[in-house]
Symmetry: D2
Subunit: 141 residues, 4 copies
């Protein structure tokens, strides 16, 4: 395994410049060759009626985990954009931290596809499964 | 066509009690029998690198439009939950207001399925298409 | 509206050469600028337990309708390939003919996205909704 | 781990009665507690232009693998029906056998969700990833 193109610290500095709203929302817990673990601390802001975490919170987490995984593999490709996302909500996530694991299924010249599993911090129960496709900018080296 | 089970004002009052974080983020522009138009005013908070509106903003808007459409048809079903969402991002949305139109495809006893088209306020260009499935609580009348 | 790049007869001749297994399975009922109607006659081969048409039959019909729509717009692009498909099965299709309407949502240089509605020949009830993405070959004129 | 509710032989006998068209198309290679491996032998009938296996072949295989996995867990639920399927085609599958592995992500009282990875028999390369949702009949014990 080669070193990642960007480490967790590199991605944090990249976000500070390119995407300040996203910075600090999550924490990269681990980067492996084809995988990235992203933690979302609990916040009452993310609750919906019924006291569970909202669907948009989980969708945003899935998309973010895949974006950071691409950064870790390709370096600073700010203009990579999501082309599609399909998510299944499996269980109501209790009010607790979440851990998303994004795994790269394909890294082509034009498209990258990954799948994301989101577990609740309480007991590690699987609460959502997603697949995410990004279009990669044509000019990358 | 029968009157909606909840009007835009009813839904606003429901949100004030059940889901205050969501209140005021969007504005219901129209309710028809099987459709609902939901407007998201422009906010710089929703931008991502490259100056376009972020994917999570569009996903949240699609999910919200379908939720309000269900409220308008079924009344206050706070516990209806999204079971799956699949979205295609078609064009980069410029920094402008968005208009989502949710349309009901199926309203069963256990599942409701809708499709959502999101257009940019600038020229009405289609920027995303989604399908959203909600599980309905067993006890509804 | 301009003439289609390929008519229903052109597509039939193309299939005879490039894709003989697919020929004759369906019938193109209409081609409009951004839409194509594709009819699948009833066949007992397409039934599944319970006497309804099978999911794979509907998925194949959705994918085929989008492929023919692309042919009608772009001409003979045999190497266009599906990159993703998401389908919702809305109602059990009775043993009858089906009519799929594919509509183009985006025709980019690299990706084309469409949505497909499938109705039962009996009464025109909507039985499935799909979105289909094709990757287009780089060399097309 | 408990014994499966139906073995590969049980499922074959079930198909002989309930779904004869499906019988013999694939071969169940293994059943584990939450997973099932399903092999599709190579057939020239499944080719599309360009000499690769067709998308509908892969979609049908994904749906079938999930159906058999449910049979292995729940017993003979002929009336379980697919409610949605989302598939990503990752690489063009060469003309060879395929191996699908379906894994159960959720088995609720009303819905079951699984993900399916399809690999080419030549080298085990991942060629498609799918998620499949089935609605379960209300009356099951």
């Amino acid at each position: 395994m080669t070193a990642p193109a960007m480490t967790a610290d590199d991605i944090d500095r990249f976000l500070a410049v390119e995407f300040p709203q996203a910075r600090g929302w999550t924490r990269i817990a681990a980067i492996r060759h084809d995988e990235l673990d992203l933690e979302l601390p609990f916040s009452a802001d993310n609750l919906r009626p019924g006291g569970t975490l909202s669907g948009p919170t989980l969708m945003t987490l899935a998309d973010t985990a895949m974006f950071y995984l691409l950064l870790s593999r390709l370096g600073p490709v700010a203009l990579a954009v999501t082309t599609s996302l399909a998510i299944n909500f499996l269980r109501r996530p209790p009010p607790a931290a979440l851990l998303a694991t994004a795994r790269l299924l394909k890294l082509g010249t034009r498209l990258a596809v990954g799948e994301v599993h989101i577990r609740s911090g309480e007991g590690g129960v699987l609460v959502a499964q997603a697949s995410v496709t990004y279009a990669l900018p044509p000019a990358r080296a």
